[in-house]
Amino acid sequence: MLRPRIIPCLLIKNNGLVKTTNFKNPKYVGDPINTVRIFNEKEVDELIILDIDATIKGREPDYNLIEQLASECQMPFCYGGGIKNSSQIKTIIGLGVEKVALSSCAIETPEILTEAAACVGNQSIVVVLDVKKRVRDNNYEVYTHNGQMATGKCPIELAKEMERLGAGEIVVNSIDNDGLMKGYDLTLVQKIREEINVPLTCLGGAGSLQDIGQLINMFGAIGAAAGSLFIFKGVYRAVLINYPNQVEKDKLIRKSHH
């Protein structure tokens, strides 16, 4: 039986790990290399690492850091941040990364999806959609550039389009729920899940294993990604890397099969 994937998601800014709240106020959380090493030792399902500076600053991805992080992973590793063309994608995959995540460039130059998929296969192409609810009409809207640029596009339509063009996985990231640890935006996930046929991963808002359990309960084999949950502990949000062990994971999955 294919299991749901429980995925720590780490954000990199200035070579250090940070955590945001609603995509703002990045708090320094530590050294990426040691953190990834710990997650590897905890045998996490897979890992997502996003460089949140690269696109905004017009920077190339930090290939050296990517390679160093990839060599720490005995589980699949998805990298995103600063990717603009398929040559970069090829390079990054060649550094030992299983999947690349595209955000703004997938929306601005969607032909990159088809091009890259033809080369590395669509299973390695992930599109991340950062989504916020529009205040004026309560509809969902996709943002890029770290939540700073509104695209005016609907995430459901965009997800379908991205799939059509070559994305093998969609990650839907709720800006409204980011860092609050109050639960996923399940409505948003539902809307997208109904319309696409590729694997879907949900990110933004997970505050407890119960939140993940609830997601799995509703959607079965889905990706449950979280940042704060696996990095912080307790009311003071103290940095402490944590992740459910095999027993706890199996319990979550078994519960959802009732």
Binding site: V29, D31, I38, K42, V235, A238, L240
Partner: protein
């Protein structure tokens, strides 16, 4: 006897040991204590006519008479605990516990909450080298005892630069950046947040034989840290927690009223039993050796220090256990003759340390081959510290030998 053979125990780096140490080693032949396993790799060690070292003598003369965990000491501890509770009334927490995930700090946490009924805030310093076991153990205790946690995350780029500076300084005390960050954050936080009591896992049971200064110079000597950073560092220490030894021993203590309590000295603390109790109760994971909750410390104590300087900190750790009847001398001798950890892990750690410090393996080896220096080669507050220690000893406040 052939001179070179006599020094084989010091490892292949003898020729790089600085002049002062070479002189003192050359003047004396190898000797190991007949009661514990400390030896002349502590160049200032002395032996009595039984062949017992000054650590052993000091233990029996000064420490043991004043340290006897029993009902009386439990009463004394209870009184202290009552005071802590009284002073902490109305606050979210009545004390601060520095927690590394190691057995001592884990056990004191357990003791504090479960047996003493205190309401501690657990304070952890993330210096960028946590092992999986360390974070797991902290999590287990925090969850298992329902405690609050605060983590101080040291800026890795500053820590990396400072550690690299210490490597380049060729001194034995490479653990200073980590140690200093840990104690400075803890004390600074306590003073700032108004905590009057810090509980630590320090204990005679496993630490009555302290590592000699030659091996483990005072991490609290800010002057030394700053001098080494000034000479070999590149990144300014903007956020790095700093506290001068006198600031924390005098100002925090006497002006801010921050007191340190060592509960493990008031109870019967048998390390093996403590570890088992933690494992059974919380799913606590054991480490291969003391201090191995940090990957850096494991590498540094298990490989760098013995290989480059000939100092094996296990000698001090095991000797403490021998004196407190938790290990026999025979067992210690057998263990110390073996390497602390296997060849493969050693290599893996060497590569990892190089990677973390942005060095190639070759560059790290080159540093290892450099000429050994001591704390005396850099600015320090040692003269002042020596005087202060003497004063404390006169007032009976310092029993363990620190040299």
């Amino acid at each position: 006897m052939d001179e070179p053979d006599r020094f084989n125990h010091l490892g292949p780096r003898l020729k790089h040991v600085s002049k002062i140490t070479v002189k003192s080693i050359k003047q004396r032949s190898y000797q190991i204590c007949s009661n514990c396993v400390m030896d002349t790799s502590d160049s200032a060690i002395t032996f009595d006519d039984r062949g017992w070292c000054d650590y052993c003598c000091n233990f029996y003369e000064n420490i043991l008479p004043n340290w006897h965990p029993d009902e009386q000491t439990w009463k004394v501890l209870s009184k202290i605990v009552d005071k802590i509770k009284k002073v902490g009334k109305g606050r979210d927490h009545d004390c601060l516990i520095g927690m590394s995930g190691g057995v001592d700090s884990s056990y004191v946490t357990y003791l504090a909450k479960e047996k003493l009924g205190l309401r501690p805030l657990i304070f952890h310093v993330d210096a960028g080298w946590n092992s999986q076991e360390a974070v797991n153990n902290i999590e287990r205790l925090v969850d298992g005892l329902g405690l609050d946690l605060h983590t101080e995350v040291i800026d890795w780029s500053e820590m990396k630069d400072l550690q690299l500076a210490f490597f380049k300084a060729q001194v034995p005390h490479l653990d200073t950046p980590q140690d200093h960050a840990i104690f400075a954050s803890l004390y600074n936080f306590a003073a700032k947040q108004g905590f009057k009591y810090i509980l630590t896992g320090a204990n005679y049971s496993t630490e009555c034989v302290r590592e000699p200064i030659e091996w483990h110079y005072h991490a609290s000597d800010l002057r030394q840290l700053q001098d080494i950073h000034h000479r070999f560092g590149k990144v300014p220490l903007k956020t790095f927690p700093l506290a001068d030894i006198f600031k924390y021993k005098l100002y925090y203590r006497y002006v801010k009223g921050v007191r340190v309590v060592k509960p493990l000295n008031f109870v019967s603390y048998i390390k093996a039993n403590a570890m088992q109790e933690l494992t059974d109760r919380f799913g606590w994971q054991k480490y291969a050796h003391k201090h191995y909750e940090s990957r850096f410390t494991r590498f540094y104590e298990g490989y760098w220090l013995p290989e480059k300087f000939g100092y094996d900190k296990r000698r001090a750790h095991f000797s403490s256990l021998i004196l407190t009847n938790q290990k026999t001398r025979e067992e210690a001798l057998v263990e110390i003759s073996k390497s602390p950890y296997d060849e493969q892990t050693k290599l893996k750690d060497f590569e990892y340390v190089a990677k973390k410090l942005d060095l190639t393996v070759g560059e790290l080896h080159k540093i290892m081959d450099g000429e050994n220096k001591t704390y005396r080669d850099y600015k320090s507050r040692m003269p002042l510290i020596n005087m202060a220690t003497k004063v404390l000893r006169i007032f009976g406040k310092q029993q363990a030998i620190i040299r």
